[in-house]
């Protein structure tokens, strides 16, 4: 359907692409359901995968050190971390590969915890099969990733605080005392919010205003 040349032709994969795959146990969070060693062994057979290992805690300092060492030793240029949700640790691992000299965007994560071991706890075999698939998908994707570069943009050093109750007032004061200009917007004719309506407040039993 309305396919164009651009849409389907895979970008040329340079033959020298070297991928490292790390399957994290996350203690027992992943490993008690998913056979991490088996997943790592399967991944070793995928094209361009040079190193494939299971690892206790990928995010721990020794874990990161091991991956960093591998990147340098095996001249890896792309990394797949099969662990938790990228919403949690993607920044961690991007930072790690950057430190190892790679572009931080040459990383892909396979979500083996939130979207596999934790949701298929009673089906270890099916979960392991899924984990292999998720890693395979991640490897296919990481092969195609291209280095990207962050842009530095100007920023307005001012804040808008919406709401002039105790929280809004405190935020505005903290920002202002740190030298930032603040626009404090309040719907009512006075700031104070619900707090101003209260009599003495616990635990100090002093006046609320």
């Amino acid at each position: 359907m309305e396919q164009t040349a651009l849409a389907t032709a895979p970008d040329e994969i340079e033959e020298k692409t070297r991928i490292g795959v790390y399957v994290c146990h996350c203690g027992l969070n992943i490993a008690q359901t998913v056979d991490c060693q088996m997943v790592a062994e399967s991944a070793a057979r995928f094209d361009h995968v040079i190193v494939s290992k299971d690892i206790g805690y990928a995010c721990s300092e020794p874990g990161q050190q091991q991956i960093t060492d591998d990147i340098l030793e095996h001249s890896l240029d792309r990394v797949v971390i099969a662990s938790c949700s990228p919403r949690l640790h993607e920044p961690t691992f991007r930072h790690m590969i950057k430190e190892a000299g790679l572009n931080p965007y040459l990383l892909e994560m396979a979500n083996l915890r939130e979207q596999c071991s934790w949701v298929h706890m009673n089906e270890p075999e099916a979960a392991t099969a899924k984990a292999v698939d998720l890693v395979k998908m991640a490897v296919s994707r990481v092969r195609q990733l291209r280095p990207l570069y962050e842009e530095v943009l100007p920023l307005t050093k001012r804040s808008l605080v919406i709401g002039g109750g105790i929280a809004g007032i405190q935020t505005a004061l903290d920002l202002a005392d740190n030298g930032f200009d603040v626009v404090l917007v309040e719907k009512k004719p006075s700031i104070g919010g619900t707090m101003a309506q209260l009599d003495k407040t616990f635990p100090t039993m002093d006046c609320s205003i």
Binding site: P86, M137, P154, L155, A167, E186
Partner: protein, 596 residues
Amino acid sequence: MTDGGRHPRITLLTMSEVVEVKGYVGNFQVKILKKARYVDEKECTACGECTKVCPVVWPDEFDLGLSSRRAIFSPFPQAVPSAYVININECLGHNPVVCAKCVEACDKGCINFHLSDEEIVEEVGSIIVATGLEVYDPTELDEYGYTRFENVLTSLEFERLINAGGPTKGELIRPTDRKRPRSIGFIQCVGSRSARKGGNYCSNVCCMNTVKSTLMLKEHYPDMEIKVFYIDIRAFGKGFEDLYRRSRRLGVQYLRGLPGAVEETPERTLTVAVENTVTGRLQILDLDMLVLAIGIKPASSTQKLQEMLGLQLSPDGFFLEAHPKLLPVDAATRGLFYAGCAEGPKDIKESVTQASAAAARAIRLMHEGKITSEPITSMVVPEHCKSCGKCAEVCPYNVITVDVKKKIPAVVNTAACAGCGTCAAECPFGAITMNHFTDTQILQQVEALLEEDPREKILAFACNWCSYAGADYAGVSRLQYPPNVRLIRTMCSGRVDERFIWHGFLKGAPVVLVSGCHIGDCHYIDANHWTEKRVKKVHKKMSKLGIRPERLQLEWISAAEGLRFSEVMKRMETLRQGVTQDEISETIEILKNQKK
């Protein structure tokens, strides 16, 4: 409060509402509507001469109607700014024949009926949402008789009655006879922890608010009989247990069980029927006054702001934080933070703590005066662009410029591009590359997924902010669902190109799911409208080609809807089981022929 009003770095805009927010982290343009006060804020000395002559009397909203005020008034004695204000809907107007008495009374000439609403535009780098709360209205809980009996009050009304600045100058009286009550009962969890009426969550402050109230009463009126009806007392904060014990020591009776019914006697006292769950006995009590410890609800402005800023809500209706433990004051959208009850019920100390945390997070973002932007943006390949203008039409941020008449290829302003990828999905010529989510990158994932036993698998696209997060939430909640689901993450469901879906079917996918944020909740303003349109279009084409349209599903799943996610996955599995190998093979044939 006064510090907030006079800090040289704080521009205080009262009677104001944010009506529009444009831009992105570091560079927001905010439109604010400032309503006219009709009194010069700077000149007014709050002498009060105007109020004395105003003939219009209204219930005072600050005292919750327990006292009255005039049409020109000061909200409360310590108000900031201290200037008076005219409620123009109540005022008789400035025609000297009709009234205008306040104009005459004001020596300084502060009152100006010609003032009008103003629109203010501000440029800011970060936004803190501190919209607070609304209290629960107990009208619907008729068993407590709030609307029927005058001596049944809410806890906030009670606060006004014992406040030295309140309508009775702090003297507690019964509304019916204006005498001091000899006995008083507090009913806890009104509008909280109920699956039936009000919120099903704990409102966090009501227990301690009641404990405090009982201490205030015992301090002023040691002989007063005080009873507290509760489910359990949650005195979890620092020093709270001490206050609770002190209250018990002073003779306040804590009775476990919520009243079933409240009736009024001819003497206007209240008969309370309650099952004491400690003794297992039904008790009938006679009390002079009842106070309903009402819960906390999200502010009424929440939904409007949520849509304006592209924020997410928790199932209880408060704003959803980016991470419940590690990013408790950050919104998922960069540059936006929460403080106070906007994010969930909390007491003053917690609100202040969170407010300082939000300020620190905002400073962390802004202190360098520059910001690095994620390079996940779209890019036009000029050689392929036919200048049709489709991309500019669909861009939710209006950051693509293209000259359709002069056939000048489209250009993306990458600094302002948020990276939803809708343009790349809608471009009919494949001329837009969405960095980090290119066609090739996604199609390769589709292929890897369907390489072996495609008939057994469920191909699901999920947007990063809602549906993928919803899947994570299902994981955190350990909600089990069929293990043959394979998710492909895109930043927005708007990125899911028609071609990805066709490619999935061509490679033997029995079913395909496209999932995103609910309409109105899209992280990219309204990009998911295009997802909806696109899926409808594909459905039509499927019917035409003789492929069952049910095999492509579209679902909206929010970040908080883990349960919904797991249920949708179960539905997808049922759907998948209904697709035979023959049907899949036939689809592949149809699509292959189409391609030729």
